[in-house]
């Protein structure tokens, strides 16, 4: 049994230190998933909190069939998507609107680059954005993303292809994006 698996077992038995360690190990990635899906920073922090609480509540039901990290990403994704639904119901402009007219910088400055990618992500449709986040932030395989989103692998491939093309185009590398999109659509 791996160290992580032992840690999960200890956590499932109610070992508070083990739960704490698991949460700290996964905190950055849970937060990154929430931030990149929700975009708005304060709402993303709320989603992060809800995701962590949901992880603790659901720990006893984790059966080990999936990797623990995949299970965590699924919960984080659900929390982020739920937060997006709440934002929509709130019926006030969120940060997406703020990003619509932000010009793209040359990307040489780290903060500029971060703002750029947030602004660009905000303009990528949600279903493409979620796929991009799970693939490129959580480093999940297509099959794992398909399970989390409950869609066929082909749909994941399509969403990623279109999401990458849009994101790359928004960030200024339109030539690369077009080339990748052509490759992707040609391969299906």
């Amino acid at each position: 049994m791996t160290t992580d698996a032992l840690l999960v077992k200890r956590a499932q038995r109610g070992d508070r230190n083990a739960v704490d360690e698991l949460l700290r190990e996964n905190y950055d990635i849970v937060r990154a998933v929430c931030h990149r899906i929700v975009i708005n920073s304060s709402d993303a922090e709320d989603a992060t909190q809800i995701a962590l609480m949901a992880i603790v509540r659901a720990l006893p039901s984790f059966d080990g069939r999936a990797k623990f990290s995949t299970w965590v990403y699924r919960i984080a994704t659900n929390a982020a998507l739920d937060e997006l639904r709440r934002i929509r119901r709130r019926d006030i402009p969120n940060d997406d609107a703020k990003f619509e007219n932000i010009s793209v910088s040359d990307g040489t400055n780290a903060i500029d680059a971060q703002m750029d990618v947030s602004a660009a992500l905000a303009q990528v449709p949600e279903e493409f954005r979620v796929a991009l986040v799970l693939r490129h932030i959580a480093d999940l395989e297509y099959e794992e993303i398909a399970v989390i989103l409950d869609v066929p692998v082909g749909t994941v491939r399509s969403r990623l292809s279109r999401g990458r093309a849009q994101l790359t185009a928004l960030l200024g590398n339109q030539g690369d994006a077009t080339q990748r999109q052509n490759n992707d659509t040609g391969g299906q």
């Binding site: 949460l23 905190y27 990149r36 992060t48 609480m53 739920d82 680059a113 932030i137």
Partner: protein, 217 residues
């Protein structure tokens, strides 16, 4: 499975480069999440509180006995001493511990953080209260739903038509309460302006809400 149509390394690195987390916020998030496993140990905390309270009573009783043996101390003063709120004297800032001595059926449903403020949910039969989780505990609102449970006892309890209740990630707390011998599953969920309480299979009919301060909005 390997896929050859990846993002450029620069864009992928920028995607992963989420702004640095404030360690205080991270610790608050983790502490609130850990409170989800605190409930089973509530009896221990309550026991600890009761032992503190018992010690206080012994001291007060000793004081009363001493004062009654003294001609200089009027009985009324001893009576006033016994009225000192023992829970308030607790050194533990936990709201659950502070109130567990007042109602046998009370208990913490856990805590959560909203806009950097920690809240604790305290429940007793038919009442859910929300406190600022700080010293001293400060109540910011309560939802009284005892009557709703009694009314519910007399109506159709089938799931609400046309409303799919998906609490997979929304609830801040999920618990069971009782009225007139029947059990009811309840969910406290975050809403746009605060928190709302629902029967678990009636997600469009709120039993009541508590607004959260809009600090930081």
């Amino acid at each position: 499975m390997s896929e050859d149509n990846e993002l450029s390394p620069e864009i992928e690195a920028a995607l992963k480069d989420v702004s640095a987390v404030d360690p205080v916020v991270r610790d608050q998030h983790i502490a609130a999440a850990l409170s989800e496993i605190a409930s089973p140990s509530a009896p221990n905390r309550r026991l600890r509180f009761l032992s503190v309270a018992a010690a206080a009573v012994v001291l007060v009783a000793g004081g009363i006995a001493f004062s009654r043996n003294s001609d200089d101390t009027p009985p009324a003063l001893a009576a006033d001493t016994t009225a000192i709120s023992v829970p308030k004297a607790s050194s533990d800032p936990s709201c659950a511990e502070e109130f567990s001595g007042l109602w046998d059926d009370s208990g913490s449903l856990g805590a959560f953080t909203h806009l950097g403020i920690n809240y604790e949910m305290i429940q007793r039969t038919g009442v859910l209260s929300l406190y600022l989780s700080q010293e001293p505990c400060t109540k910011i609102g309560e939802i009284q739903y005892g009557e709703a449970m009694k009314v519910r006892d007399k109506v159709d309890d089938s799931p609400q038509q046309g409303a799919e209740c998906d609490w997979s990630s929304a609830p801040l707390a999920r618990y069971t309460d009782r009225a007139e011998g029947d059990s009811y599953s309840l969910v406290l969920a975050k809403t746009d302006s605060g928190v709302s309480l629902f029967f678990v299979n009636r997600c469009t009919e709120s039993l009541g809400s508590i607004a959260l301060p809009a600090v930081g909005d």
